[in-house]
């Protein structure tokens, strides 16, 4: 029971952070949308479709970022059995799934007019699809086990096995020939994006990052509340089982 002190402190901290991250998310998103859709130039080759980049790249970045959180949480679950760690992993996974899905769909909607295909099975697209299924599998494992600590450990193992996929996604465009172009933002010799096109990208990246922290904290609070609710129900049910006629809550 002693660890209940820890989540309580965490919730207090979250309640202090959330009033900052929520308005920051909304504000950055509004500025980002203005910059991306209105105040930035069209590309010399791709025309206005370059605007899809301003949400596609941040979505893909967040998909990887969330996975790193899930994997780090899994590591912490397996090694230190930290109870907040599996809560964090469970909370981050659906956000990662959403961003991975968005990266796939926005990429598809960008690929059709530019490449001429909605989808191709090159190494980059395929490895991101694998990431999508890793998130799904991770969440399915959480749902499949009755016992919470067993679920946490099984999910953590999957998360750590799947970590192999992260460098594959990142470097697939360099290691193999792909239809997808190589990195334009996170590259050794600096971004290959004209300075006039960087502000919308950077602001959107920041907006998505703050969005993640906001929703992540909400989801952790939700998970902790579910654990507390379970403990309360269990405590409430145990003595009542003595008189079966009584209605269950």
């Amino acid at each position: 029971m002693h660890w209940f002190a820890n989540p309580a402190r965490f919730i207090r901290l979250a309640d202090k952070i959330l009033p900052l991250t929520l308005p920051l998310t909304v504000g950055l998103l509004a500025v980002g949308l203005y910059l991306a859709l209105v105040a930035s130039p069209a590309d010399y080759q791709q025309g206005d479709t370059v605007r899809i980049m301003y949400i596609h790249v941040p979505s893909a970045y967040m998909a990887l970022f969330c996975y790193m959180i899930v994997a780090a949480a899994g590591f912490s679950t397996l090694v230190w059995r930290h109870p907040l760690a599996d809560v964090a992993g469970k909370a981050a996974a659906p956000i990662g799934l959403a961003f991975t899905g968005l990266a796939l769909v926005t990429g598809s909607l960008w690929g059709k007019p530019m490449w001429g295909a909605w989808w191709v099975w090159d190494a980059r697209l395929t490895s991101v699809l694998v990431l999508f299924f890793l998130y799904l599998g991770y969440m399915a494992i959480w749902g499949a086990f009755e016992d919470r600590s067993k679920a946490a450990r099984a999910a953590a193992i999957l998360a750590l096995v799947g970590v192999i996929n992260i460098p594959i996604i990142k470097f697939s465009v360099d290691w193999w020939t792909t239809l997808h172009q190589p990195a334009s933002l996170f590259r050794a010799d600096g971004p290959s994006i004209d300075p006039s096109m960087r502000p919308p990208l950077y602001v959107m990246l920041a907006a998505f990052q703050f969005y993640f922290f906001t929703v992540f904290l909400w989801r952790i609070k939700g998970e902790l509340a579910a654990i507390r609710l379970n403990a309360l129900r269990y405590a409430g049910e145990a003595p009542r089982s003595a008189s079966p006629k009584e209605e269950q809550p």
């Binding site: 069209a42 590591f75 090159d122 190494a123 750590l160 334009s184 590259r187 004209d194 096109m197």
Partner: protein, 161 residues
């Protein structure tokens, strides 16, 4: 006995930590070996030089990638078909394609074509995809760079690896 006491310093958590790290390293090694073995299959397309080295037999499907050579594009009299040469700087291959080309298709552009060689060594494409590079800039910037006479300053589109 003293050795055992030293062992005791290895708490369960520390042992789990190193076991997990070891397991991850093993996994990484396994993945590395698997992907090394699969390397060929993971290539999405082949360059004209690869085809020159080892031409797939006629009729066998593969993907060809490279730059559309400037002034090689010919529209055939049927109005639907085009012929162009795809090059990687060293070797080139003639491609025949009937159908709608993607918006980004132009001479100098990187493309990937699905298709097969015919008996005469002509590549018959069923589908042509445009490959764009990782450079993004407004048209004005591109024109300015071109005017200043830095043809390589503005990376030509679709620089294939």
């Amino acid at each position: 006995m003293t050795a055992l006491r030293g062992q005791k310093a290895w708490t369960r958590k520390r042992r789990r930590f190193w076991l997990t790290v070891l397991a991850l390293l093993t996994l990484a090694l396994a993945a590395f070996l698997i992907f090394r073995a699969l390397d060929e299959q993971l290539l999405y397309f082949r360059l004209p030089s690869d085809v020159a080295d080892e031409a797939p037999e006629p009729g066998r499907a593969f993907r060809l990638g490279g730059l559309v050579e400037t002034e090689s594009l010919v529209r055939l009299p049927d109005g639907m078909s085009v012929r162009f040469s795809v090059s990687d700087g060293e070797n080139a291959l003639m491609v025949h394609y009937t159908g709608i080309l993607p918006d980004l298709f132009r001479e100098g552009q990187g493309i990937i074509a699905d298709g097969r060689l015919d008996e005469n060594g002509l590549f018959i494409a069923d589908r042509v995809l445009a490959k764009h590079d990782e450079t993004y800039m407004p048209k004005e910037v591109y024109d300015a760079i071109k005017e200043r006479g830095h043809p390589d300053g503005a990376t030509p589109s679709g620089k294939t690896p």
